[in-house]
Structures are given as structure tokens and as C-alpha cells.
Amino acid sequence: MTMPFYVPPEQLIKDRAEFARKGIARGRSIVVAEYADGVLLIGENPSGSLHKLAEIYDAIAFAGVGRFNEFEMLRVAGIRYADLKGYSYGRPDVTGKGLANAYSQTMGTIFTHEVKPYEVEVFVAEVGADPEATRLYRIQFDGTLRTEHQFGAIGGQDDALREKLADGYEPGAELRAVVRLAWDAIEAVEDREIPAGDWEAAVLDRHLGRRKFRRLGPAEIEAARA
């Protein structure tokens, strides 16, 4: 009988975390930031059809970085979670906090139990009736759940991005200003110019009707930058 090699748990977790971090670092970052009317989500995405930003429920949006198939599974599961909950109880009972917790639990379990951890990071944004009620949650590959205040970033360059954003961010700024800030921050961190057509952006606008998620078209993104 052969004995399996003993691997200390510290080593096991470290290896898994390193593996996941490497995968995520290859992906492009996404910035989420509050503006006067709600929340902006923006990132580089040359693919026009494979989205990284998505609507989950009335006031809740999703952003994912890393392996597409993995965060796509999380996105679909999030929509199912939200629609099931809203149908079973009521629309106001679907909250960003509940969804972020569900993601956190699931990703934590996958990190320790599955053969391979997910190489993804996700962001859950929920726009409130006023800025005080707006909530931003960031969930990491191991299920670590954090709330972010006013702005946040996910992806390989998240720390550098957050620093850049902190320098230029002004609470209550107009959408144009926040698009410009995020655009400049991402370009500065990536150290290259990103063509106008390669951006994906969406907003949660608290002044829209029941469904507050809206994608920004290429023209709109470029106009905001001008």
C-alpha cells in the first residue's frame, strides 16, 4: 500500500491561493465607482458579446474578472438566486447583501473542496435610493467578502487601481467625470492606451424605473471621455 505524501494544510491553502491569484492576474481589471446618480461599472473588454458586467436584479449588478466560464456560471447562478427569491417572497427581499453572502459561501466552499479553485473575483453593486443606501461588495476567489466604500476594483491590478482612484475621486461627481477617472486610472496602471471601442461600461441609475441597470453604448462611453 502506498502512502499519500503529507501536505501541511498551510501549504495546501497557500498553493491554491497562489494558483487562483495567478489566473486572476492574467485578466483585465474592472472598476466600480459611485457617481451622482448611482454606480458606474467599467473595464476593458474587447469582446462586444461576452460581457463581464451584467444585470442581476432590479438594483443589483454583477461584475466578474478571471476565467470567463467560471464567472459566467456565478452570474447565471446569481440571477437564478435572485429570481427564485423574488418570486418566492417579494421583490424588495432580494438584496445585494444576501447575494454577496451567497457568492461568498459558494466560492469559499469551492476554494477548499474542489479539485481546482475558481480563478475569479466578483463584484456585487447595489444602488440605493440615496448614496448612503448604496452598497458595494467584493468577493475574492477564496470567498473573502469585503464591503467597499464609494469605489473599488477587482482583477490583477486591483491595489494599484484603488490607489489611483483614491487620488482623483470626488464624492457626488457626474458620470462623465467618473468615467474619465476610471479610464485614466486603468490606462495608467496598464501603461498603455486602450481604444475607445474596447471598453465595456454599465450603470445602475437610481432614477431609472424598477430595473436600474443600463449598458452604456460605445458612443456614450467615448462622449464621457471627451
Binding site: I79, R80, K85, G98
Partner: protein
Amino acid sequence: MSGQSDGFTGSLPLDAPTIGSSFSALLEERSLHPTWTTDDQLGDLEIPEATTVLALRYADGVVMAGDRRATAGNVIAHKRVQKVFPADEYSAVAISGTAGMALELIKLFQTELEHYEKIEGTRLSLEGKANYLARMVRGNLALAFQGLVVVPLFCGFDESTQEGSLYTFDVVGGRYEEQEYATTGSGGAEAKAFLKSAFRPDLDEAGALALAVEALVAAAEEDAATGGPDLKRGIYPNVVSVTSAGYREVGDDDIAATAARVMETRP
């Protein structure tokens, strides 16, 4: 309603074996799908029924309207029932028949359309929506034989052809596209008779709105189960329009003014 054994569990449905974008399939898999089962005839059990709804095409799209009354036998069960609903941004659905079942059917239909749109990133075609609704009606066939009938009316603005379309259904799930107008419910025949004499294909929005309200007034005059506009209590029909600009509810003030004018000029 039975079959609510496990309820909403709160965990993320990541491993749901259903692949695809159907919300109903997800509900069924979790035994959450609303079902009404009974082996007995209803006998003299009186269940609230929603009555007259109608829809008509006009130059910019479709107008849909419904009265506000629900009856249980010869009793007026509810005076302010809503029977016309948005199905999604570019379509509307109205109901007649057993009110409780019909309202649940609409909630499920609305959720299904939004669920599909979010997962697929694109809306179902108007025909796709109508076909799906037909399937939902067909699912209630066994109950229809026991007297629990639900018959919807569906209309919308077709984003591909840029035209308003409207569909009627029968209890076996038959789906029929109508060219001019359609009615259903207990006062439907009266409303239809009125529309037949007054309908013109070149109506503008104000004209279509006035026609819809007058058809409901005509139905209420002949059918006891249909409620006419109640100017004293401020109960007015629900009227909505669906055009290239999407679904819009006509405000109570507009309907009140139209209703007052219609009542004035009725022979």
C-alpha cells in the same frame, strides 16, 4: 397551491442541473412550480373571476384595457382589480377567468421573460413570448375542465417588424394572431360588437384610448359582471399602450377625462 415542499433555500443555485434559461424549469426542479390540483368538481364553490379585457391596434402600436371588477357568482368580489399588466418593456398581458390562478400565471410569465432576458442578454421575440404564454395556458387544461379557466390576451410591439401585434388564446393553448382588435371575458362579446362597428385602422392614440374606454362602457351596460367607470368613487378602467417607446400606463386623469366624455355622449 401545493408542491411548496422545500421552499426557497437561500443557497446559490450553482449546481442546478437545468441548463438553459427557463425560470419555470428551475421552479419545477425545486418543486416550487405553482400547481392547483383537485380531483373533485368545484360544485357551488364561488371563486373570484376577472371579467372583461380588450386590446386593439392603432397607428403607433397597441392599446389594451380592462375593467376593474371581479365577481364570485353574483357577488362583486373586488372593485379595483388590476387585469392589465406589463409582460416586459415591449409587451402587455391581460387576463380573464379565475382571478387567483390568472394573477399567478402573470407573475410567472413576467419573471420568465425577465429571467430569459437577463441570462441570454436579449429579449424573446414577440412571437416567442406569445408561444410561451400559450404553453402556460395549455398547462392548465385539466383545471379548465373543472371550471377553473384562465384565458389571457397578449399584445406587444414587435421590435423586428416595428409593428404592434396582438394575440388571443383559447383554453387548450391555441394561439391566434388578430389583425384589428380582440376581447375576452364575460363582457367580451358586447365589447367586440361595439368595436366591430366603431373600429377604424387609422386611429391615433387618443382615438384608440377613447374607443377602448367606450367599448368597456358598452360591455358594462349589458354585462353585470363588468364594471363601468365609477366617476363618484374614482374607479377607472386600466388602459395601457405599447409602442416603439415601450409599455406605458395611461394616467388616471386622462382616463377619467375620457370616461367622463364617453359617458356624456353615450346614447
